[in-house]
Symmetry: C2
Subunit: 143 residues, 2 copies
DNA sequence: TATAAATCAGACCAAAACATCCGGTATATG
DNA sequence: CATATACCGGATGTTTTGGTCTGATTTATA
C-alpha cells in the first residue's frame, strides 16, 4: 500500500526537489538523478518527461541533455507536482470510501479527516520549493 | 490512487461499522451487507472471512448464516480493522518515499507529516466502534 | 431427511500500478 | 560532419490490487 501518494508521485516529488535544490540551472541527465535517488532510471525519466508538459521541469535533448527545474523554485509548490501526477481527488474523497461524504451526509470520520486533510493540503501549499532547499540537500547527501 | 486505505480496507471498515451498529447480534448474510453498502458481494464476503481470523467478526455457516460483530463494539477500534487488512506500515513510512526517514535523517516534510500521521493514528484509536454507532446509522440510512 | 441458503477455499480473471525496452530524433562536442 | 549521448513516444512486460466464479461443506428449517 502507498502512504498517500503513488510511487510515481513520490519519485516525482523527490526528483523535482532534487532539481530545485541545485545551485546551477544546468540540465542533469535522468540517469544521474536516478542513481542519486536510487530509483529506476527509465521510470524517473518518464515521470520527468510528463512534468515538462506541466511547465515544472524543462528538458534538453541530445548529448549532454537532461532535466532542470523550469522556473524559479520560489514559484513552485509541492502541490503542483502532486496535482500533475496523482491529481487532487484525495482531497475530495471520503477516507472510508463512502459515497456522497459531505457535511450534510457525513461519514463517521468526516470532520476529523477533513481537518487532517486540509492540514495535509497546507503542508503542500504553504511553502515553495526554495524553502525546502536546505532540507533537501541534507537529506540527499545522506542517501 | 487511494486516499490512505486500500479499497479492501475501506470496504472492511464500512462493513464492520455496519455490523457494529446493529442492535441485535444476529448474523447478517454477506449479500445483505453488500447491497446495503453497494459493494461487491463476493468481495465483502472475502474481506469479512479474513476478519474472522482476527476475532473482529464471527461467521455462521449454512442456511440463515452470515456475519456479526465478534465482541462488544466498545472493545473494537478502527485501527484494529486497518491493522488486520492494510497493516500499519503507513504509520512508519516516509510520505515522499525517501528511505531511512527519521529524526536523524528527515525528509523535508518529516516533521509536518509526522504530526499529521500521529493525528490520523489518534483518529483511529481514540474512539471505539460503539462511539460511532449513531453516525454510522445516520450515514447508512442515507445510502 | 431433503432442501435451500449460506460460508469457505482456492482458482481464476481484469484492471491499475509499477517498471522496462526499443527505435527514433535531437544535439553537443570532437 | 560523425559520433556519442540524451530525451521522447509507444509498446511491452511484471506485480499488485480489485473482483468473480466454482465447488465443497455446513446447517436451519420445512
Amino acid at each position: 500500500m502507498t502512504v498517500i501518494f503513488s510511487k510515481k508521485c513520490e519519485y516525482g516529488l523527490q526528483a523535482v526537489l532534487y532539481l530545485a535544490a541545485q545551485i546551477s540551472r544546468e540540465v542533469i541527465p535522468a540517469e544521474v538523478i536516478a542513481n542519486k535517488l536510487s530509483i529506476p532510471k527509465e521510470f524517473v525519466s518518464k515521470i520527468l518527461q510528463s512534468l515538462t508538459e506541466n511547465g515544472i521541469v524543462i528538458s534538453q535533448k541530445g548529448k549532454s541533455g537532461g532535466f532542470a527545474i523550469a522556473k524559479d523554485p520560489k514559484k513552485i509548490k509541492l502541490i503542483d507536482i502532486v496535482a500533475a501526477i496523482d491529481g487532487l481527488s484525495m482531497f475530495n474523497n471520503c477516507v472510508m470510501g463512502f459515497p456522497n461524504c459531505n457535511p450534510e451526509n457525513p461519514c463517521p470520520l468526516h470532520d476529523k479527516w477533513g481537518e487532517l486533510r486540509s492540514k495535509a493540503y497546507s503542508m503542500l501549499t504553504d511553502e515553495n520549493l526554495d524553502n525546502f532547499r536546505e532540507k533537501t540537500l541534507r537529506k540527499i547527501s545522506n542517501l
